[in-house]
């Protein structure tokens, strides 16, 4: 905020700047996460339980593994899972939202009922249930996230499509004999695509947080993966002897990534909303 004031940027420019910074960070994290091989987190018993220092920024754990490397790998894994989950969830909400808005009253009430159904059980409980049904692991968590996060975006898309459909120019082009497909492609898509992109961006932080939470509870990714949730749940055993860095740094990295995505998603939403765009 302070920086953007000094450079005299408006919301559009500062959002762009934030996007660039975020994408550089995310790319760096994901790339290094994939490029790091297991050697980087091999156990090194000589430097067990070391507090953060210049050699090991985030300290080391009880096996002498470098926490910085583990955190980076965990983050790249979390981002991957979150991305897949968010995209899956967004696809469900696009399909259902469009169906509800275009296929008449019965379809609409069915979709509304489905939305109520998926909102009626707390997210975490349904995630646990779905993870249990798939026996844990990557598949369970991705399905869980995709199946639990769609209702809010589906609602937005539904109302947006309904609103666009009732606008004058759409009515006119229907009267002019344009096909349904043409109307969908030329009139409706340009309106809802930005909404969808922002929707995915705003779903994404939730997806990462829930992935970390379910993994933390022990129902998500397997303990051999270097996921953030695993790191944090393992660290619990060592907190009482004062090894605070095991939990602190991975968590704050996760928080920063999630916070930035949230911020950018929010800014973009304000920008595409005509009431706020002028600021």
């Amino acid at each position: 905020m302070q920086l953007s004031k000094q450079l005299n940027l408006n919301k559009r420019q500062s959002t762009l700047l934030a996007c660039i910074v975020l994408s550089i960070i995310v790319c760096a994290v994901v790339l290094t996460g994939f490029l790091y091989d297991e050697d980087r987190i091999a156990s090194n018993l000589e430097v067990r339980n070391a507090a953060p220092s210049f050699d090991h920024f985030f300290g080391t754990d009880w096996l002498g593994r470098d926490m910085f490397s583990r955190t980076i790998m965990g983050l790249s894994l979390s981002i991957g899972v979150g991305l897949v989950g968010a995209i899956g969830s967004a696809s469900i909400s696009i399909i259902l939202g469009v169906i509800a808005a275009t296929m008449g009253k019965v379809a609409d009430s069915i979709v509304t009922w489905l939305i109520d159904l998926f909102l009626s059980v707390p997210h975490l409980v349904s995630l646990i249930l779905i993870a249990f049904a798939f026996g844990g692991g990557f598949k369970g968590i991705v399905f869980g996230i995709a199946l639990t996060h769609w209702p809010s975006l589906a609602r937005v898309i539904r109302s947006e499509v309904m609103q666009v459909r009732s606008l004058d120019f759409v009515q006119v082009s229907r009267k002019m004999g344009k096909s349904r497909w043409w109307i969908a492609k030329e009139h409706i898509m340009p309106h809802i695509v930005p909404q969808i992109i922002v929707g995915i961006l705003l779903l994404f932080p939730h997806a990462i947080l829930h992935e970390a939470a379910v993994t933390f509870l022990g129902l998500g990714l397997s303990p051999h993966e270097p996921a953030i949730g695993i790191i944090l749940s393992e660290s619990m055993r060592y907190l009482s002897v004062g090894m605070w860095w095991l939990a602190f740094f991975p968590g704050i990295c996760l928080l920063i990534i999630v916070r930035m995505f949230d911020k950018i998603g929010d800014n973009l939403r304000m920008l595409i909303d005509p009431h706020h765009a002028h600021r």
Partner: protein, 336 residues
């Protein structure tokens, strides 16, 4: 007018009940299918480490006894009719009827959740009011920044931080468990319980304030920019008096209903907080049931949490209808 209002409320409740019933049936059916789909073997989960001593014949007999060989629809039917008669089955890990386990855990959880609920409600509301009254000052900016950051903080990580600071460094509170270790259940006094409750409740309330504070801030800003407040300001009212006379009543109702509608997040947060502090509540039972394959308990908890969330939403709806005079007037036109 009065009788019509009561009748409308009755119709409203009737529709809500029907909707609830349809949702519950669908939830139980879906979760039953999901659970049956699981690769985790229920017999293995039940027997546990003694599985090596169970011969294939015995195994078959257990399968037959539990009806695991029948088609899924029939299994669902017998399970569903048992539930309708009030029998949720027996929990495999606690070897107690599921309803008993849930009841006992619920008492623990309700202590935790209601403390957190009240605390986060009051603190969040006051933060929102403060931010809106001091709009665009540094107080407002700090509160906003704090709330947005909290909204992206993992609940369990917040719990871990509190654990590090208060239980490990400062040694003020015990590290975990609902009661001190090695003490008989009868000897646990109320102080011990409260001591073990504070940290998880604090975690939940710290996370919970974000939503309500931001919402209250938004609403109060709207109210403060309305004509009658502008006029009141012109008359010379300001500060707390202004808020007390014109703001409070307008924003209290949305805040209260929002708090009731947030039961779902509260439950989810409680699952994580209970796990971090090993607090023996519903959330911990859910995790245990999922990890150790306790199907009856898991299904029972899913249904219970759905009812819990529904009750919250229902109370929110009813408060809106009963208290807010505007919705009361509108609904006489559009009774549904």
């Amino acid at each position: 007018m009065r009788w019509r209002f009561t009748r409308n409320l009755g119709i409203f409740l009737f529709w809500k009940a029907i909707k609830m019933a349809s949702l519950l049936v669908a939830i139980s059916f879906l979760s039953f299918l999901l659970v049956k789909q699981s690769p985790i073997d229920p017999i293995q989960a039940y027997v546990g480490a003694d599985m090596l001593n169970v011969s294939p014949e015995q195994r078959e007999r257990i399968e037959e006894y539990w009806g695991l060989n029948e088609p899924i629809m029939e299994q669902f039917w017998s399970w569903g009719s048992a539930i309708l008669s009030g029998d949720l089955g027996t929990s495999m890990i606690y070897r107690l009827p599921v309803s008993e386990v849930i009841g006992e855990r619920f008492i623990n959880s309700i202590a935790l959740m209601s403390t957190a609920w009240v605390l986060s409600g009051i603190i969040g509301f006051s933060m929102g009011v403060l931010a809106a009254m001091k709009k665009d000052t540094w107080i407002d900016r700090i509160i906003k920044w704090y709330c947005y950051t909290l909204a992206s903080t993992p609940t369990f990580w917040m719990g871990l931080l509190l654990l590090i600071v208060f239980a490990v460094w400062l040694n003020w509170f015990p590290v975990g468990m609902g009661v001190p270790a090695g003490v008989l259940a009868e000897d646990v006094n109320i102080m011990d319980r409260i001591k073990h409750l504070i940290l998880p409740a604090l975690t939940l309330s710290i996370i919970g304030v974000a939503n309500i504070a931001l919402h209250t801030r938004q609403k109060l800003i709207e109210v403060l920019s309305s004509d009658y407040v502008v006029f009141a300001r012109a008359r010379g009212e300001k500060g707390f008096t202004l808020f007390w006379r014109h703001g409070l009543r307008n924003i209290a109702l949305p805040a209260i209903t929002l708090q009731f509608a947030a039961f779902s997040e509260l439950f989810g947060g409680a699952v994580l907080a209970e796990q971090v502090f090993s607090y023996p509540g519903l959330g911990q039972a859910t995790v245990e049931a999922g990890l150790r394959g306790d199907v009856p308990l898991l299904l029972g908890l899913v249904l219970f949490s759905a009812i819990f969330v529904f009750v919250g939403n229902l109370i929110a709806d009813i408060i809106y209808r009963v208290v807010d005079p505007r919705t009361r007037k509108e609904q006489s036109y559009a009774a549904k």
